[in-house]
């Protein structure tokens, strides 16, 4: 009886660790951050937390990482998101500059994002080109199109004469998008949350619901976990595989809106570089398995926050020269994943030893097919 209760507690703890280790990981990283700040003679305030919440890595990369998570859950990958962000933000800003209409701007962002995602999805799911290659190709293409466009488009429309897309200021809709929404914050009880962070949180919430509480979400997991079983249950596997790229495209559209509102411009040559790697890192830090089929969408939130916080920790250690910062980034990434993969392996070892010590019971428990 007692053993059984102990067992239950053990199971609960170990399942919490396995399913939500990303929360512990984030908390540990946050504590390290606070300690670093304090050691530098400053005090850790709610401002630090809200700056993690509103950093580019959180709101822009994080939003796209939601889509990346779905792509990875189906066992695929998307390397093109950084380039897609640039192209899509370009379209968004150009449409804004031309129409000065918020609704059209939003539609342009979402529509162009969807289109870019659909190109990836069709090539990967229906033309059966490996997703790695498809999105490597489109990574080159999307950015290069944006580079080309920014120099071809007249400065009145691109909003800048210097190889970037910039929102044209002056109108009421600019005031609203950039001032009220893009850089504004909601203040609650002394704590201020930027509106763009709220948008990101809403996206996470939406996709936590979609992944966990809709038929579609279940199909996404099933395709990544066992696509044969999914097929036998009547799921259209190709369509699901294509759709996750399209969803990612839509989220790139949302990220473009955030980019336009928060920053007001984008530079095709430099913006969004390596975002695919940051997004993958956020997804993996969020406990979502690279092999597909497993992981909680809420993990993306914590993964993105963890990644931002790691960044902040690294820049806030004055002794760390800029050259060596990436070494820490790489080490932390490997270490955190090692902890998460080691968990199950250690547990496996542990339980198999326990089983070994009661062979009779195990044998009596029966057989495998």
């Amino acid at each position: 009886m007692e053993a059984k209760t102990g067992n239950k507690v053990w199971r609960a703890v170990s399942s919490l660790w396995r399913e939500h280790s990303y929360i512990f990981v984030f908390i540990v990283i946050l504590i390290v951050y606070a300690v670093t700040i304090q050691l530098n003679g400053k005090s850790f305030t709610s401002g630090h937390i809200s700056s993690i919440l509103s950093s580019q890595n959180t709101v822009i990369v994080g939003t796209m990482a939601i889509g990346m998570a779905l792509v990875i859950i189906t066992g695929q990958i998307d390397l093109s998101i950084g380039s897609a962000l640039v192209l899509c933000s370009g379209v968004t800003i150009v449409v804004f500059n031309m129409t000065d209409n918020i609704l059209l701007t939003v539609l342009a962002a979402l529509g162009s994002g969807l289109l870019l995602g659909a190109v990836n999805g069709v090539l990967a799911a229906y033309a059966k080109i490996p997703p790695f290659i498809v999105t490597l190709g489109t990574m080159l293409i999307y950015r290069s199109l944006a580079l080309w466009a920014v120099r071809e488009i007249p400065a009145e429309i691109s909003g800048s004469s210097s190889s970037q897309f910039a929102m044209k200021s002056g109108s009421a809709s600019y005031e609203f998008l950039r001032m009220a929404f893009g850089t504004g914050s909601l203040r609650i009880a002394g704590f201020s949350i930027p509106y763009v962070s709220i948008l990101f949180l809403l996206c996470v919430a939406l996709f936590v619901v979609i992944a966990g509480n809709t038929k579609y979400g279940k199909a996404v997991y099933a395709v990544g976990s066992n696509d044969r079983a999914a097929r036998l249950a009547g799921v259209n596997v190709d369509r699901i595989k294509a759709s996750v790229f399209m969803v990612t495209g839509l989220l790139v559209g949302v990220a473009s809106i955030i980019q336009a509102c928060k920053v007001g411009n984008i530079t095709p040559a430099s913006s969004g570089r390596s975002y695919e790697m940051y997004a993958i890192a956020a997804v993996v830090l969020g406990g979502i398995a690279m092999a597909g089929g497993r992981g909680n969408m809420a993990g993306v939130l914590f993964g993105a926050l963890s990644y931002s916080a790691i960044d902040f920790i690294i820049v806030s250690i004055p002794a760390l020269s800029a050259d060596i910062q990436d070494t820490f980034q790489g080490l932390v990434l490997i270490l955190v994943i090692l902890v998460q993969t080691a968990g199950p392996v250690v547990k496996e070892r542990f339980t198999s030893r326990r089983r070994r010590s009661r062979p009779a019971a195990a044998a009596a428990a029966g057989t495998t097919g």
């Binding site: 199909a219 099933a222 079983a229 089929g293 062979p359 044998a363 495998t368 097919g369």
Partner: protein, 498 residues
């Protein structure tokens, strides 16, 4: 009234006719057993019925409707539920998510009625007497629970016709007993069932009617009450096997392989000694532990207890240890466990030899081709050359290549798990001859098979397992289809008990 009427159904795979105009019908409210040897065409017939694969010819009428081009979705909607022969659960979803997979209950916005589904799953389990937590991840379940889950999933669909293709291979007796009581109750509500099993007592316990297929043809059909296990077994097996007798008694050599109280999760306390030149058959239904015993001998799955000695020296722990001890294993499930699909016949043939002789890395192509030709001639392998893709060979010839893979290692203890899997009748005879030749030449052969004629033909002894226990060790003269079938389905013990 017939709920299902299949007439003249035929199907070929790559020119190989698997179903040759089969008629099959199921009455409303009956449990209909579909019986036949491995490879007789049962699963193929059922897959056609459920729209998993298209048929080449014939008609399917279900519940009064004709389905010329059935799809999975269509048949599901029409009221067919299918428990496939192999597990098709999604390990990363929870129990209740699997139960409702692709048929989730939703609110208007498409949101899942989560608590409702969990509650309904719980109710379902209560009704079916299943003890499982609906919120658990399926990956954490035991195989038997996964199989129960699949059954529950099908039962939950409340289909008019439920197909159960070997649903009980992983289940314990109590569970089977309970399943049967549920089936009986559902039957009384007017639902119909197709039930496939290799376990004869089950058939007599639960089925009302039966159909026997052999080689893709309808052999017999009728009421279970009018038949006996023996008559059905005879129908299944046919006559042709008993005919030729290649077996000859041989002088056996010293003990080469000793199993001492081997225990794993699938079998327990197995002790055996095997002699040089001996052929021993293991048999038992899926779940009997026979295949696992063989894998454990080869170091492919861990032992919980006991010891293996080859030539007097311990040979347990790993595959490489077993191989160095002179043990080779031809695994079952060729596609997953033997075929290296992307490389040639020659490379498939040589893989095991290469890993044994890795000290000398260089490959002598001419020498390998010469050896390939020897083996090809010895086993009569039909290929278009050593360089062709393994998948271009017929299944039987592939199987011979993998047999050759192990002959080529000079292993003197050969473990052959289901060695004639996919092998046609003629080629089977060749393999039987070869096994006896090998034994005469001093090799020790252990085969695991369900095919009793095979056992009769080659083995000096037959070890029958049931649910992880050795229930009988029969000498060559004692081996006959009826007894082996009865032991392996535990009908003998049940009969004794009754």
């Amino acid at each position: 009234m017939s709920i299902l009427e299949m007439t003249g159904v035929s199907k070929s795979f790559d020119g190989n006719r698997v179903l040759k105009g089969v008629d099959f019908s199921v009455e409303q409210g009956e449990i209909h057993a579909l019986l036949g040897e491995n490879g007789a065409g049962k699963s193929t017939l059922l897959n056609i019925l459920a729209g998993v694969i298209p048929r080449d010819g014939g008609d399917v009428h279900f519940d009064g409707t004709h389905y010329p081009h059935a799809t999975i979705a269509q048949m599901e909607k029409a009221g067919v539920a299918f428990v496939h022969q192999e597990l098709n659960v999604v390990n990363d979803l929870t129990v209740s998510e699997n139960i409702f997979f692709n048929h989730e209950l939703t609110y208007p916005l498409g949101l899942l009625r989560r608590t409702e589904m969990v509650a309904e799953t719980r109710k379902l389990f209560e009704r079916l007497g299943v003890d499982m937590d609906p919120t658990r991840k399926v990956g954490e379940l035991k195989t038997s629970q996964k199989q129960l889950l699949e059954i529950c999933r099908a039962l939950h669909a409340e289909a008019k016709l439920m197909i159960l293709d070997e649903p009980t291979t992983a289940l314990g007796n109590d569970e089977i007993e309970h399943l049967f009581s549920i089936l009986r109750q559902l039957k009384s509500e007017g639902r119909s069932f197709i039930f496939v099993s290799h376990k004869m007592p089950e058939v007599f316990q639960i089925a009302d009617t039966y159909t026997v297929l052999r080689n893709g043809e309808l052999i017999s059909s009728g009421a279970v009450a009018d038949a006996t296990p023996f008559s059905i077994t005879c129908d299944m097996v046919g006559e042709q096997y008993a005919d030729e007798d290649v077996y000859r008694a041989r002088e056996l050599g010293p003990v080469v392989l000793e199993l001492d109280r081997l225990t794993s999760e699938s079998f327990r306390d197995v002790s055996l000694t095997l002699r040089r030149g001996e052929v021993v058959a293991l048999t038992g239904l899926a779940g009997s532990g026979a295949s696992e015993l063989m894998q454990a001998l080869f170091g492919a799955i861990p032992l919980l207890d006991g010891e293996i000695r080859a030539h007097g020296k311990p040979a347990s722990g790993s595959i490489r240890a077993a191989m160095r001890g002179g043990i080779g294993m031809l695994p079952t499930n060729r596609k997953e466990n033997s075929v290296i699909p992307d490389v040639s016949v020659l490379e498939n043939l040589y893989l095991a030899e290469h890993s044994l002789s890795a000290r000398r890395q260089w490959i002598h192509n001419a020498r390998e081709i010469a050896q390939y030709e020897n083996l090809r001639d010895a086993l009569n392998i039909r290929t278009q050359g050593p360089g062709v893709a393994i998948n271009s060979l017929s299944g039987g010839n592939q199987q011979k290549v993998f047999l050759a893979r192990w002959l080529n290692t000079d292993a003197d203890i050969l473990l052959l798990d289901n060695p004639t899997q996919g092998v046609d009748v003629g080629a089977k005879e060749e393999i039987y001859g070869l096994i006896l030749e090998l034994a005469t030449a001093g090799k020790t052969v252990v085969i695991n098979t369900l095919e009793i004629p095979e056992i009769q033909k080659v083995s000096d002894r037959c070890v029958v397992l049931y649910a992880g226990d050795v229930v009988a060790v029969l000498d060559h003269d004692q081996i006959n289809e009826r007894d082996v079938m009865l032991y392996s389905t535990n009908a003998m013990n049940a009969a004794k008990g009754d």
